[in-house]
Amino acid sequence: MIMPGKLLTFRSGGVHPPGNKHLSEHKPIRRVPLPETVSINLNQHLGKPAQCAVKIKQEISVGERIGEADGFISADIHSPVSGTVRKIQTVMTAVGTMAESVLIEVDSEKTAEDLKKYQSTPDCAPEKLGKKEILEAIKQAGIVGEGGAAFPTHIKLAPPPDKPIDTVILNGAECEPFLTADHQLMLEKTAEILTGARILRHILEIDSIIIGIENNKPDAIRAFEKLIETDSYPGMRIAALKTKYPQGGEKQLIKAILDREVPSGKLPFDVGVIVQNVGTVFAVYEAVYCGKPLIQRVVTISGFVNNPGNYLLPLGVSFEHAIRAGAGGFRDDTRVKEVINGGPMMGKAVRQLDVTVTKGTSGILVLSDQEFSYDGEGPCIRCGRCIDTCPMGLMPTLLAMNARYERIEGLKSVMDCIECGTCSYVCPTHRQLVHWIRAGKVLLRKANRSVK
């Protein structure tokens, strides 16, 4: 279905940052030797943190629930290892917040033994399974969106009845530079992802599933096409997308593929679409067919490390262990400048290396002093580049100013910002626009609360 010269994309804005994907591209997904301890924090998803369901000194095995969903928007958390709970403490998460966390001493032999129970599964068509059971299985598996926002999937897949859904988009765009985790997953688990898509199609009772992939991954597009041609996956098609950042943003993807615009303050539900990351769909497949909860995920470790590549990391592994045991350590310890949780555009520099991998970690990026430089921001020269490139059609420079001077009336549109970082990327004077806009969001929320 690749039609040369007819690549889909969103209309306004966008940039073309250097991809740097060659570092980890086509590197097979590898496992990492288990560390001595893992520390699993209970706030890995959007919404309320899970409640701790284990006690100190309790023996636990792989897949046992250690965090119980608390409230409507929340998700269960399961143990990725077998071992003993040693501590329950408050530690820093990769995004800088403090969260309750369970420290487990790993019994690596038992873990390997226990992981085998997820391997052999009888194959049957997803259409034969009950919808309720599938949704329950997804909920029990604690699956959240793996794209980054980590929204609990069982809520996303049960849209309110007054909002009919007609299309599901699988997000395989992976527009963020450096990251190749989704790409590699699509190559290695093509059939599983498509079966997962069939499960979604079944429970949402829809016809059309579209897989959006950027055209810098032609082999992934081909792999999917080959399988779709065999006719065992009805209603699916591939949409080849132009390589442009932020193509993988939910709203940009919907605009590019379906030419529908999600109105300000609304969700994809409102235009009849659900967008799911390919990683999430693979997790759905594993939950339904293997009964396996979301306990590990593919993470790209790239940049200034000896073996950049794609690694299957259990949750709760520290960044330090992932880099040293998995990616062969830093190329030069003294020259490491930043370690980023996520990609370079939307990711966030971590403050210490003992923060752990969570369900929303898509990449660990190490930047050396050569790649990273920052010497403060300059004044706004009113060039308007941020406005030209903003994929949401906002005026980042004005929003940042309004946030800075607490002009609440000028912050009306700030909630539409998807924090993709395009404005900060193109700014010739390196203004920290996204940072101010984030602060603006908090200001607006505070103001709205005090009005009520």
Partner: protein, 281 residues
Amino acid sequence: MDVVSITVATMGTVALIAGIILFAASKKFAVIENPLIDEIEELLPGANCGGCGLTGCRAFAEASVNDRTVRLKCPVAQAEIMAKIAEKLGLEALETVRTTARVMCQGGSRSRRESEYLGIQSCFAAVVSNSVDLVCPYGCLGYGDCVRACPFDCIRIVGGVAVVNEEECTSCGICVKACPRNIIEITQYEKRVYVACRSPDKGPEVKQYCSVGCIGCRLCEKACQYDAIDFKPFISRVISENCTECLACVEKCPTHSILFRQVDPEKTGILAGKVYDDVPE
């Protein structure tokens, strides 16, 4: 008739009619305002800081005249001004205690910072994005939100921590609201002993990130003979009412987290004389 006289006559008539209308309107729609309001406004500092909880000095004057009370307290005005206002209103002034804002932290460069914060130099922005480099989760960040907020220009960042010039401080409370860490407090000016730490963490944890934090050892509580230390796990607090400034606790404190602010009469502010050159814009 020539043009000049026509013009004069027309304009004169128009002016006369307009004058009569304006006079009638001014009589009919006159707003009778208590002249006291103007007099009281005259006495007030006129900073319009909002420290009293109203929108400005005019609003304060109106409120105090209309309510016939001085329970509204202007934090900026000195006691004698309040007494004058009370006199005008025919009331007795409430006894007021001079207050000042104080930063309950003296960490700064003595508090451990890990990683390097390259974001916007604003405490609020740093807290919002969870990228604070200070390890202590309670301490002063030193990016100067309070410095920029202070309408009287009496806060400075000294050695990485905000310090209030207590002589100039009018305790309007704007810095209290500006601080995202909530470590600025309005305290009594006369009571000079206070615990400059707000960390309720246990001793070993505090030791890890700050050398001048309260470790909750309770030595001050034991040293105090006047019941002036209020200990809640694991932070001490000086009860100003009971404190006699005997300084027993100040001497006993192993981490020097209890401060005794001394005012040097020769100098204007408590920290006057130091060079304030690291003030953010």
